[in-house]
Symmetry: C2
Subunit: 301 residues, 2 copies
Amino acid sequence: MTDTKNTAVIGLGSMGYGIAQSCVAAGLITYGFDVRPEVTTRFQTESGAQGILAEVAPTLGSVVIAVLNAAQTEEVLFGPDGIARHLAPGSVVIACATVAPDFAKDMAAHCADHALHYLDAPISGGSIKAAQGALTIMASGTPAAFDAAQTTLDAMAETVFRLGDAAGPGSAMKAVNQLLAGVHIATMAEALTFGMTQGVAPDQFVEVISKCAGSSWMLENRAPHIVAGDYTPHSSVNIWPKDLGIVLDIAKSAQFSAPITAAALQQFVAAAGMGLGGEDDAAVAKVYARNAGLTLPGGKS
Amino acid sequence: MTDTKNTAVIGLGSMGYGIAQSCVAAGLITYGFDVRPEVTTRFQTESGAQGILAEVAPTLGSVVIAVLNAAQTEEVLFGPDGIARHLAPGSVVIACATVAPDFAKDMAAHCADHALHYLDAPISGGSIKAAQGALTIMASGTPAAFDAAQTTLDAMAETVFRLGDAAGPGSAMKAVNQLLAGVHIATMAEALTFGMTQGVAPDQFVEVISKCAGSSWMLENRAPHIVAGDYTPHSSVNIWPKDLGIVLDIAKSAQFSAPITAAALQQFVAAAGMGLGGEDDAAVAKVYARNAGLTLPGGKS
């Protein structure tokens, strides 16, 4: 017997763990699972909802899939240990990874074959908002999918955009957002380090530019990490070769030329090549600093 | 005899005209001059302060130079009809064009030869804020230059950043801001049109993205022009080949590689090549739309 108050979050990275905590805070019975057994154990101890996924699956009203990409999403649902066959008819899969719109449509169709609802539900807002239940969700799906997901969405999000009556538009909007977010991070790094060559100190950059027309959400959020010399990953460099790669794959399929996105992607690829993949994405500034012989705050001179 | 309440604004484009109106509103006796005689006549009739520049110059406490670029700034000051020789010692030149920091230093030195103060004072905020006396000014110069300019700065600006005690840092910060602003406009256009290929309507793009991490000051300001199909120039396409060109010239001199700026510049160059130079800079979206066979709001299908 399913209950909309029973949910599971699969994938307990920085976003998924926060989502799971938000579900607990909202009073849901929340099971959490991760490929890292110690993370699963830590969350289940914290939440008090303990169990094995295949066994609790039939009781779940919803499953939030907060993994990294399309391949992992498909594996979770339909792989050798896939949960689709264990979920009860009428329950809803809330799929949060950044994926191509066509992939979301495919997953929705496969879920429908199992009498499962599928909500195409990419998220925006970062790990802090995830843990506060204050994400923005770019969602699309059938009215029945939205109805089944409502309790869980309320726990996760401050804003839920309803972008369409089928899977696809949610992932399309997320791709648009990621294009902008990724380019804005790399451009912030380009501008901050360019400013350093002209005697503009990083802290002065943040103080002035955040009051000027050159500001962006990402600049205000990420540039302070560079000023502090703190690259603890809130969102890592490795996200961007993946997400901007998805954007460019979709764009190529649509015969859409996206030269600025392509240029930004190369800077993140270079950062990953420097061994910075696990650092905060503001570390893309280190590519510029190395090329120009600059010393960033906290760096070796 | 100079008076800090006497000022002149040279260059009555969309920014300069607004600045001149703000000076009038603040109670300054404000002379306005433009290379277009009918614009000079219109402003002087409106302000009531009528005269020929060479004749009124000795009475001015300040001169605001609101022309397009470095060449025009130099012409206004030191060309055949240059005003530097007519200004009284101790008066201040407030130079607002986007120029290279080294050019600003040169002009300050030449002004010092004439016993004139020079404030390196690039502006940000657009024509509407110019007319409201609510600009942001990225200023640097000697304390004496700031003192002499104070009354006029109060009339022009909501925020004046004091970035250094000599000319140069103001223009450096402006270059940093223009790098970001130009890239953000072109990236907004890239993302909006990419979204259209995925079924995201331009008005939905503005509604959702302005609430998400992909937002920027420029996106919120310019994307509505595309939604409205209104390319009345608040700031024109032609600004960006100039300003991003200045950024890349400075960057090259510093051996700083700025690949994202370079990619954005090319989109504005393409827009100018399409004959859109006089349109609002949001018209850079038409480059993407043409390449991808999309019809923007208000466009021919």
